[in-house]
Amino acid sequence: MKNAFTISVLAVFLTAVSCKLVTENEGDTQGIRGFKLAANEVSGWTESSYFEFNTSNCFSDAGLNGGAKDFTDNGMIEGFRQKMVSSDYLADIIITDFGSNSNSTKMFNFKSSTSDDGQKVGNYAETVAFMDENLSGVNAYAHFGKYYFIVQLSGYSIKADARSTAASFLELYENKTASNE
C-alpha cells in the first residue's frame, strides 16, 4: 500500500516535471526571450545584433561595461541586448529580467534618480517610464512587471520622430509583458 502510494506520488511528480520541461522546451517565446523583436515587428526595423547575457557575462560581453554593476546590484538575473536598424536610425535595446516587480522598480528608480533632464514618454506616468535625450535621439527607460527596458534611439535629425518611436517601442513591450510573465 505504502509502495503504491509512493509510486503514485512519484508518477504525479514526474508528470508535473515533464510538463514543465515540455513547456520550457516550447519556450523560445517565453520569459525574457519573448521580447526579442522579429524583423518589421516594429515597422521598418530589422535586427543588426543580438546577445543574451547573465550576471557573469554582462560586463564585457554585453558591452554594458562598468554599468553592469548597477544592474547586478539591483537584482538582475538575465537579459539581452538587441540592436536594430531602420534606414540611418539605430535602436539599442537592453531588456533585463529582475525577477520581481520590486526589483525592476528599484532599478528604474535608481536610473530615474540619476537623470536630471527626464521627460515624459508617450502617455506613461513618470513612475513607469521616462526618457531623456541623447545627441541624435532619445533614451527611453521603463519597467513593466519584473522587466526593465532601455530603448536608445539615435541617428535622428528631428528629435520628435525619435520620441514618438520610443513610445511605440515601449507600448509594444508593455503589451508583451502580460504574455511573458
Partner: protein, 467 residues
Amino acid sequence: MENNDSVSRRSFMKSVGAGAAGLTIAGSGIDSVFAAPLANTAWSNGMKINDEIDNRKVVCCTDPEMFTNAAQANVANTFQKQNAAVNTSRVEDNLDGMAMALSGKNNVPDAWAAIFRKPSGKEWSAVKAALKVNCIEVLNMHRVAIAGKICKELIKLGVTPANITIYDACHIASGNDKYTPYANGNGIPQGVVVSSASRGSTQVTVGSKTLGCTSVLVDQSGQFVTDILVNCSVNKGHGQTDKGGYTLSMKNHTGTFFKSGGGNCPTLQEMIDESKSDAIIGGTPPRQQLCVVDSLWATKGGPFGAVSHCPGSIAMGVFGPAVDVMVVRNIREKIMGATHNNSAIQTIVSSYGYSEGDFQWIEVPPYIPTSLGRQTGKQQTGEFIVVTAYKASAPVETRFSIPQDAVVRAEILAINGKVIRTLSNTAHANRLVWDGRSSSGKHVNPGIYLIRITGVGFTRSQQVKLM
C-alpha cells in the same frame, strides 16, 4: 580578456617604489618634500612625469572645424559615422598646436620630442609603445584620427610601427558586434599592431593587491616591456559615483588590469592604486607619458549608450588625474551640465599630494600651420535667438552668436543648475521658443533662469529673468 591567457598563475612582479628621499624647493602650490613612496607604488608626491612639462598643466582645443560637417556630426551615432565626420587633418594640426602649448616648444617636432621620451641608451627603433583605448562600447570610442596622429608622431621619432600596439582595441565577445575602428591603412599607419588584449593573467602588484595585467605591458616572466604608454580615453559618465561619476584616463585602466569578481570594476582606492602602479608610471622615464581625452563627442551618462553631446574638444596632459579633473570641471560640468561626486574627486587629487586649485586649464586656439607660424582659425558666425514667451504679451528675446548654420540644443536651467527643460531645433532654423514651462508641462515660477545652448564644438549661456 586576452585570447591566450593561461589559467595557471604566473610569478609575481613586485613593484619597487620609485622616488628618492630629498628636499626640493618647488614653485607655489606643490609639495616641496619627496615623500617616501608607499610599498608597491611607483608614485611619490612631488614626482614629475616629465622633467620639462608640469604635471598640473592640461591643454584643450575646441574647434568645430574638426568635423567635416556639423549636421553630419550631430547625427553621428556609431563609431563608423563619427570617424567619417572627423576632419582628420584639422585634428592633427590642433594636436600639434596642443603639443606645442603643453611642452612650451615653438615648433612641432621639438614639442612631440619633449612629450615622448625613451629610456636612456635605448635606440628609438627598439622602443616599445602602447596606446590604451577602450573598445567595449561601440557608440563612443576614441576616434581614429587622434590615435592615428599619436602613432604617426611616435614613428617620426623613430619608433618601429610593429613596436606600437593599440590595445583593448577590438571587441571580440561572441554574439556581439565584432569590430575594431582601428585598421592599418585606414587612419592607422601600416604595421602598427591593433590588439584585442586587455586585462591579463600575469600578476603585478597594484597597491595592496596583485592583479592580472595585460601582456602588452608585462611579459610572462613579469618584466615590463612597454617604454611609452599613451592613455587614449573618451569622455563618458559613469553610474558608479564612488569613483567620481565619470570614466576618463584613470578609469581607462580597468581594461589594463584584471580583478576577479565585482564585475571587474575597481573601487576608488583600487583605481587610484592602478594609476600609481609600476605598470603604469614605473620605468625611467615613467611609462605613461601622455593622457588624451577625446571629447569630440561625449556621453553625459554612461558608461554605455549613445553620445549625448558634441563638445568638439580634445584635452591632454602628462598627468592623468589632472587631465581627468580638468575635463570634468571644464567640459563635463560647464558644457555638458553633468554633476559628479566631489568627495571622490578630492580624494583622488589629494592622494597625489595636490589640491584641485593646483591644476591649470589652458585653452589652445585652433592651429593652422603656415610659414608664418601659428594662426587662429576663423569661422563664419550667425545669430541664434531663444524667445521666452512666459507672458505671451511680453516675449523676451535672448540672442547668441554661434557658428553659422549650427544645429543647437537649448536647455533651460534653474538657478541651482538643474535642467528643467530641453528644446532642440532642426538644421537651418535660427530660433527656438520656450513657453516658460518645465518638461512636466507646468509653468515655472518667476525668477532667474539660465538658457544654455550647445552645438557641435561650442556652448553659450545667458540668464533670463521671468517676471
